[in-house]
Assembly symmetry: C2
Homo-oligomer: 341 residues x 2
DNA sequence: CTGAAAGCGCTAACAC
DNA sequence: GTGTTAGCGCTTTCAG
């Protein structure tokens, strides 16, 4: 244990070269795994690297290559399950591709903050940006500021001009509805997420379309804010009415659990008297009683796809197609056939 | 609107200098806000910057300064509420200080992976590392690899040799226990988190100590894995016994909600027949019925403190003291005096 | 197979 | 006030 110096300045390529008695160039070649180096020299160089604890300085590499080998991740809400998962998948995919992930927090997705975030990202060192939206982009103006930096948006308006990756919300919502329909439910309600969320809107639209296609009368859609508390409130209002539904399709699991809690409170037995389907397949949903039937989103695939597309854009490679990731339905204990009336 | 070139190579300081008819140095001075530039020149330079969309190249700056202005964040479990919050706070604090946050995902906290993560971090450009532990560091050996890079560990063994920031687990657990005790509860059970979590251990130890100090007989401690499902399982076993407790202190909110669900299932009324206190003060806990009394952790403060300490270490400044962040108790509807027997 | 030279974009140090 | 020079650590190019 030697006393650590104040700033143990890292060994440079020159130091290694000097110690090994070779040129800096040869060290560089060894560091980058080029073949045209004699075994004897390679050994000497590697030994010297080891001894000095040499690490290539990425700032210098970046300067030379004009690339930063880093992608910027802008997100407004790290608390949302989907964003976490996507974020994790992006970070892993980026790491595998030799890129780091730079996190840019934005507390409030207004134009100003977004602009600030992008400005910072560009002053910082990123080759591309992934935007994890939980709310809408106000206007193209907001993004004009990316200004040449490749950009992929996750969870946004599919009609937007930006490259987009997302869960296939429509397909997922249909999965949930078809399940309830097949069980025999006809009075099916929907608790939607906030209006400024594209995924919430897509799910709500798919619900309405399904009801229309099957000539079912759709009760008014209730809106929550993704939280358990709002789901519970929706449940209170939904189950307190005259003609309560026999089934509810809830736009995410947290609200579904809140609704379940409202049902328990009213002494309603789930699934005997009420069927509930959530969206997300969150671990919490599986752990409650009754365990929640839910639409599983493949966030890992979303993150991977977004990363793959971004890296392709950065490299000028052809862009992978099909940015909509399908869902699957996980049937558990919160759904059953409606009670005979 | 001109057609964007394939790679719109960013304007360099030279380009700006040429356009403005000044030296690169002058551009640099303007960019860095130095005063000793005539207003006329400053105007010209700023105009040229604007026209070319100039952004300083951080790679070059980093190379020159020997700093990366970036902190690395290593985390194993981005899904845990506490880690998310801390992560967000770190990112914000870092941003405010002019640093970016580089995310390094580690799927599995074994020595090998940790070493890999640190290796990557050092090849990458970070001036310091924050380690968000959800599980224990196996041995000092794991961290030997940071090798001169300043390191702050969040949520770990307080006896460790590394700089540490954490919630004051002991104080938080006592808050919960004192609340139940003051309500009149004497048969108080504890559902702990996994054994490899330091916070879980601290809370469990504080529980045991409290019971001992008050001459109360402590039922055997049940262990969960932080999940709602494990809390529900603990609840089933706890409430099915001969002498069920009148109150339970649960090591996190998710497990507490699982336990609540088990209580509902058995037809036990909360808080009339059973009081429950959680830990974390998660939004979900507030949204359920009954809403959960819980120990509030100030994750934002933890993240800020960790960042402040790390930046001080990087700058060689004196290290802020008092790395233990106090908690507060949020009393809601899941606790009440025990039923008279 | 190996080395020497040049330069990536920026700024500290030194002229003028 | 402003310009010139040099060099951060690395890799591409060109000589040997």
């Amino acid at each position: 244990m030697t006393a650590a110096p104040e700033h143990p300045s890292r060994a440079s390529i020159k130091d290694v070269a000097r110690l090994a008695g070779v040129s800096a160039q040869t060290v560089s070649r060894v560091a980058n795994g080029y073949v045209h180096v004699s075994d004897a020299l390679r050994e000497r160089v590697l030994a010297s690297m080891q001894e000095l604890g040499y690490r290539p300085n990425s700032a210098a590499r970046n300067l030379k290559s004009g690339r930063f080998h880093s992608i910027g991740l802008v997100t407004f809400n790290i608390t949302a399950l989907g964003n976490q998962r996507t974020l994790g998948a992006v970070a892993e995919a980026a790491t595998r591709a030799g890129y780091t992930t730079t996190l840019i927090p934005v507390s409030d997705p207004t134009g100003g903050n977004l602009a600030g975030a992008f400005g910072r990202l560009q002053e910082q060192a990123v080759d591309g940006i992934i935007l994890l939206m939980s709310a809408k982009i106000n206007s193209p103006h907001d993004l004009a500021l990316t200004d040449g930096v490749p950009l992929v948006v996750v969870d946004s308006d599919p009609t937007s001009q930006y490259t987009l990756v997302d869960t296939d919300q429509e397909q997922g919502a249909r999965l949930a509805m078809q399940h309830l329909f097949d069980l025999g439910h006809r009075r099916i309600a929907h608790v939607a997420g906030p209006d400024d969320s594209f995924s919430a809107r897509h799910r709500a639209e798919a619900y309405s379309r399904f009801m229309r296609e099957h000539d079912l009368e759709a009760p008014e859609i209730l809106r929550g804010d993704w939280s358990a508390a709002s789901g519970r409130a929706a449940g209170e209002s939904l189950l307190g009415g005259d003609h309560p539904p026999t089934a509810v399709f809830v736009a995410n699991d947290e609200m579904a659990l809140g609704l379940l809690s409202a049902a328990h409170r009213r002494g309603l037995s789930v699934p005997a008297q009420l069927s509930v389907v959530g969206f997300d397949d969150s671990p919490d949903g599986a752990g409650f009683w009754p365990s929640l039937t839910s639409v599983h989103q493949n966030f890992a695939a979303v993150g991977q796809r977004a990363t793959a597309i971004l890296l392709a854009m950065i490299d000028g490679d052809p862009i992978p197609e099909n940015p909509l990731i399908p869902t699957s339905l996980v049937v558990r204990d919160s759904t059953a056939a409606p009670a005979a009336r």
